[in-house]
Symmetry: none
Amino acid sequence: MKKTKGRQKIEMKKIEETNRRQVAFSKRRTGLFKKASEICVLTGAEIAILVSSPGGRFFAFGHPNPDVLFDRYLNNNNKDYATTNNITRADTGATKNSTLPLPTINFNQHYVEFSRELEAEKKRTETTPVSSGGSCWFDKPVDEMDMEELQRYLCSLEELKKTVLTRTDEVMTINKSS
Amino acid sequence: MKKTKGRQKIEMKKIEETNRRQVAFSKRRTGLFKKASEICVLTGAEIAILVSSPGGRFFAFGHPNPDVLFDRYLNNNNKDYATTNNITRADTGATKNSTLPLPTINFNQHYVEFSRELEAEKKRTETTPVSSGGSCWFDKPVDEMDMEELQRYLCSLEELKKTVLTRTDEVMTINKSS
DNA sequence: GTCCCTATTGTTAGTAA
DNA sequence: CTTACTAACAATAGGGA
C-alpha cells in the first residue's frame, strides 16, 4: 500500500490556491539556491540571486556577495549607475553564501523607478509623434531594435501591464464600495 | 546492452578538467534559469539572477527585469538597512577591490536566456481583459484613469506586446540562420 | 560553447506537522 | 513560512556531433 501519491505533474501556470503556492515557493526557492550554490562549487562561477516572494519579501543569494555582483553588473551594463557608484566595495573571494529575508519594498519607490525606465524607453523611441488618432510611438521603432532593446522593451511592458492591472483592481474596488 | 553510462554521481567540489567544467557550467546555468522561470510562473515571484562565468562573462536572468530588481534591492538595502543590525549578511570582509577590467556582456547568450523566458511567457495563460480602442494612451498617468481608459490601455499593451514578440521571433530566426 | 541520447541521480507535489 | 516523508517526475553526467 502506497503511503503517499508521490510527486505529481503540475501545469506550468500560476498556482491559484494560496497554501499550495506558498509551499511551492518555499521549496523551490530552497532548490534554486542549492542549485546556484552547486554551480559555484563545481565551476567556480560567481552567482547572485534576488527573489521577491509573492508575499513581498526579499531573499538574496550571493557567492561571494550579492552586492558586489550587482554593482559590477549595473556599473557595466547600465549607464545610469556608472556615474554614481564606484567599484570599491568589499569583495571577499571567500566561499560563503547568504540567505536573508528582507522586509517589504516601498511600492511608491517601485513606481518611481518604473516610471524612470519608461521615460528612457520613451526617449529611445521618440521618433514617432504622439497623436490621438492612429499609430502610436511604438509602432515603427520596434522593427529596428536589436535583442537588447527588445528585452528591455518587453520587460517594461510587463511592468506597465502590472501597474495597469493594479490600478484596475483599485478602480474596481472603489466602484464596488461606493 | 547499455548504450551509455547514464548520469553518474559526482563529488561536490570544483571540477578540475576544463572541458567537463565548461559543459557542466553551461548545462547547469540553463537549468538554473529554467528553475527560476518556473518559480516566477508558478508563484508570481520576481527573480533576478546574475552569473559571472569562470571565463568572466556575465549572464543575466530577470523576471520582470533584472535591472529594476537590482536597483530596488541596492537602494533599499543601502538606504534603510545598512545601518541596522537586523540583517546578518554572510560578508566575510576581505577586500579585493581595484579597477578591474570588466567583462563585456555576451548579447547572444543574453538573448538565448531571454528567448527561453519568452517561451515560458507565451505558454502562460494570463488574464487579459480587453475592449477596443486605439487612441494614444501613453501620456496619461495611470493613476488618473477610469475604468474605460484602463481597458483601452490594456488593449494597447497587448497589441504592443504582440508586436514586440513578433519582432523577437524575427531576430531569433536571423540569429539562428547566421 | 550547444544539442542529442540514455541511465541514473536529484528534485519536488501532496500531505501533515 | 519551513520541514519531514515518499513516490513520481525532472535534471543531468557521459559521450559523441
